[in-house]
Amino acid sequence: SLADKLQDVFKKLSGKGALTEADVAEALREVRLGLLEADVNFKVVKDFIGRIRERAVGVDILEGLHPAQQVIKIVDEELTALLGGEQAPLSFSAKSPTVIMLCGLQGAGKTTHAGKLAQMLRKQGRNPLLVAADIYRPAAIKQLQVVGEQVRTPVFTLDGADPTKIAQAGVAEAIRAGNDIVILDTAGRLQIDETLMAELQRIKVAVKPQEILLVVDAMTGQEAVAVAQGFHEALDVTGLILTKLDGDTRGGAALSIKSVVGRPIKFVGVGEKMDALEVFHPDRMASRILG
């Protein structure tokens, strides 16, 4: 683990004193390697290491605290702070229904998390409506319908309509039927697909979502930055859902995206079942990234 590697680096340091630039440089090399192995984007790592260096050099080696522990402590604090100090809850619009739009790359977990959000909101006493706006993927609508049955939530569909029209009709149906939340599932798309990104922008203009949640697979590597920036520049996302954290990926994409997009990670997906949704804990994510 990083803690062990740093222990080795500081083995030769004994007695009190301050951490010199040379001591810190070697420790930072280990931290850099650890973060790259954890899939943090290399530009984000560069900036992060700069911040650590500033805090670490000249730090007095405190009584009873090994210098390795001190550097770890600084890294852990900085990481936790960057990942988002406090939890960011879902926000609801003053005027019902609150529209929550899910977007992201192909296979990230949007359809699954639409269902998980519906279940969570129902348990909170809300009355959500799922809207199936993926008209491209074979059986995508059927998939959301099956998910809707699993979480006892109605699913709105509209044959032969484009996604913008489906979204609008879905909101109209929510108003008619008295649903206070609309959860809009969209098709997976590449952030470089101009036509499909424009489609998301049209949906946004049409139904003015209160929340635009970017759904990201926790095992995403270096490209997490470009992907998140692409969606953010097009839509001004309000938050993220990080999925498949029940895997063993270190999840460095969380740090990459948070530092570049600045929006909070609101939820994490920890399984395939509809109850596998948790609130994001920055401190837990920090220790996971550090390994």
Binding site: A139, G247, R250
Partner: protein, 281 residues
Amino acid sequence: FTGRGKIDEELLEELEEALIGADLNIHTTMRALDELRAMVADKRLKDATDVTDHLKRFLWDTLMAGGASPVLSVAPSAPTVYLIVGVNGVGKTTSVAKLAYKLQREGKRVVLAAADTFRAAAVEQLALWGERVGVEVVKGRDGADPAAVVFDAIQAAKARKADYLLIDTAGRLHNKSHLMEELKKINRVVMRELGGRSADETLLVLDATTGQNAVNQAREFKSAVSITGLILAKLDGTARGGIVITIKDELNVPIKLIGTGEKPGDMEYFDAQTFIDALFE
């Protein structure tokens, strides 16, 4: 990265960033750059073009080591069976459909097995693809044992005298032992029904956007059902999938196919040179 520019530490840093940015493993990258630095020190490399060419050669040697080839194995007697596996959402079902389309266009008779009996509308998704591509899909009852569907599909493929049987399986995270056990059971059924030989190819589908975790996936799937090749999907996105170089280097699993989109024709046999050139674009 080319031209008669001088070789300096800045060039090497730029190359390092290109490789890391493409999701090459940091240790693979460091080894490659150390080799370059040694050659520069011995004056064996003259300029920036030389350095880049040598780096590409290093990567090419890694990918082609052991005579790696994208050619897919064919069974001594029909049907040739391919088992498609991987973690959730990477592109297995779509890749099965594309491979079926490719083989069919080569004049082969293909049957598909819808062995994902767990995920919502998984069978429907493959069935629709089957209709679209024009191949038969063998399904089981809702929630049936995937091994039972595989058994039925092998019998059907033999009865129809199909040239190929492609088996689509449910996404599963490699750290979930009960799911990996389920996969081993599917594999045992295949071996039993094929008279003791395993599937002619067991292909692990990887998402090109995945980082270092792809190595864990390859390692775990390989130890569970011995993977014979990789399908690298979603290469039409901006991610480069460089991690497959480390997978080839450490686990000796060759890349067979790449997915370049969501249409039936969006699949190609892996070409190492094209792949490597793209890492530096």
